[in-house]
Amino acid sequence: MRGRNFLTGFLLAAGSAVGTVLYRRRAARRRERVQLYFGDGSMVSLTEGSPEAERLLGRARELLAASRV
């Protein structure tokens, strides 16, 4: 009986941990961001919230909207 309770608890804990990881990954992927790749191989990533990113995101939104009108 005790062993079963332990197993149930363990499975619940593991399931919720996996669920949290998957949810966070998905949320991170859905976040708006800009990635800039330079000729020398360096890369700059800007996520929504920073003023630099907002300027670029605004232009990109305009572009996306213009392509779908």
Binding site: R31, L36, L46, L57, S67
Partner: protein, 136 residues
């Protein structure tokens, strides 16, 4: 122009994630597009503005090779190859590596379009050698 348009039409056919694409130069002149001329011009000029704003984010002297912007409704990609550029819009959450690969291939394809072969001047004949006299 027909071949360049075909190259972009192939691009949207190969990559189901790409919704529209416009190839243009640094002056904003549209070379080929999968959308009508009016929209293509607007997309090219907005993409140039986006590129100029993005270039300011890098260190001085660093040239921006490509960029991608992930938005809720879709993504925007810009790839540069010398003076030629291509901008593409996609559905949300595209496979970025694949889109970049397809765009680079298309851009390279546009750059290596067969040009009219320059006519070769007829080879000049070398003046006939004088036969040496056997006795001299």
């Amino acid at each position: 122009m027909a071949q360049t348009a075909q190259a972009l039409a192939d691009l949207t056919e190969i990559s189901s994630q790409i919704e529209s694409a416009v190839a243009f130069d640094r002056e904003g002149t549209v070379v080929a597009a999968t959308v009508d001329d009016d929209r293509a011009g607007r997309l090219a000029s907005t993409a140039l503005e986006l590129l100029e704003a993005a270039e300011k984010q890098g260190a001085e002297g660093k040239e921006l090779a490509q960029l991608d912007v992930a938005l809720q409704d879709g993504s925007v990609f810009v790839v540069r190859d010398g003076d030629r550029l291509i901008v593409a819009t996609t559905s949300p959450e595209p496979t970025a590596g694949l889109v970049f690969y397809d765009l680079k291939s298309a851009l390279r394809g546009l750059g290596t379009e067969p040009r009219a072969k320059p006519k070769r001047a007829p080879a000049k004949r070398a003046p006939a050698r004088k036969k040496k006299d056997a006795g001299t």
